[in-house]
């Protein structure tokens, strides 16, 4: 983003067009959801976030079974690729296996 701004400053004649380009690329929850689902087709994905840069995502997938939390989150970050660095300022992420999600909905009685 910084380099893009530097670029704009250097070629002020293109500022209007460039800003429009940046605006078009603001993320929305549906875009994030479909990017995650492309990588994890079996996943249930919920994404909320209205400001274009801060989001919360819940991802439930059988692909997470047996993986550490770090690996689970890395799979989601990989699905988002460079956008995670450049366009998404903050993503609060929660990953669950289907079994964990089931337990949350119907907690076992101890």
């Amino acid at each position: 983003m910084l380099s893009a701004l530097g670029d704009m400053a250097g070629r002020s004649g293109h500022i209007t067009r460039r800003l429009f380009y940046v605006t078009l690329h603001l993320m929305n929850p549906d875009t994030i959801k479909s990017l995650i689902q492309q990588r994890l087709p079996d996943a249930l994905v919920e994404v909320v976030g209205e400001d274009g840069t801060h989001f919360e995502a819940l991802v439930v997938s059988p692909a997470f079974v047996g993986l550490s939390l770090i690996k689970q989150h890395q799979m989601v970050y990989d699905a988002l690729g460079d956008r995670m660095r450049e366009e998404i300022h903050a993503l609060s992420l929660r990953t669950l296996t289907p079994e964990q999600a089931q337990q949350l909905r119907h907690p076992a009685v101890h």
Partner: protein, 110 residues
């Protein structure tokens, strides 16, 4: 002349508990970093080594490569990458963060 990756490795191995964050514990510059510091304090951390990534762009980029993790904050305990603030929250709620902190502090005291 040490590379950034070598410098990071030295930091996480020299100090038992290291948090790469935005700002410092007294003045965090981001809600996620503030949350991470709070969780560590609640977990009984006595000695926390923090690195302000906003003060050094090379560390800010380098730490993301070191862990293959795109976001800040990042917690390292006994040289191992533990996760970001979401994973820290999950671990804290399970009582696991406290255990990691306890064992790191016991190891460094002996």
């Amino acid at each position: 002349m040490a590379t950034i990756q070598e410098l990071i490795q030295e930091q996480v191995q020299k100090h038992p508990i290291v948090l790469y964050m935005k700002g410092n514990p007294r003045a965090p510059q981001c809600g996620f970093s503030a949350r991470a510091v709070q969780l560590l304090q609640q977990s009984g951390v006595k000695e926390l080594f923090t690195v302000d990534v906003l003060a050094d762009p090379q560390i800010r980029d380098g730490i993301k490569q070191y862990s293959n993790w795109p976001t800040i904050p990042q917690l390292y305990i006994q040289g191992e990458f533990v996760g970001g603030s979401d994973i820290m929250s999950d671990l804290y709620q399970q009582g696991e963060l406290q255990k990691l902190v306890d064992s790191a502090q016991a190891a460094s005291a002996s």
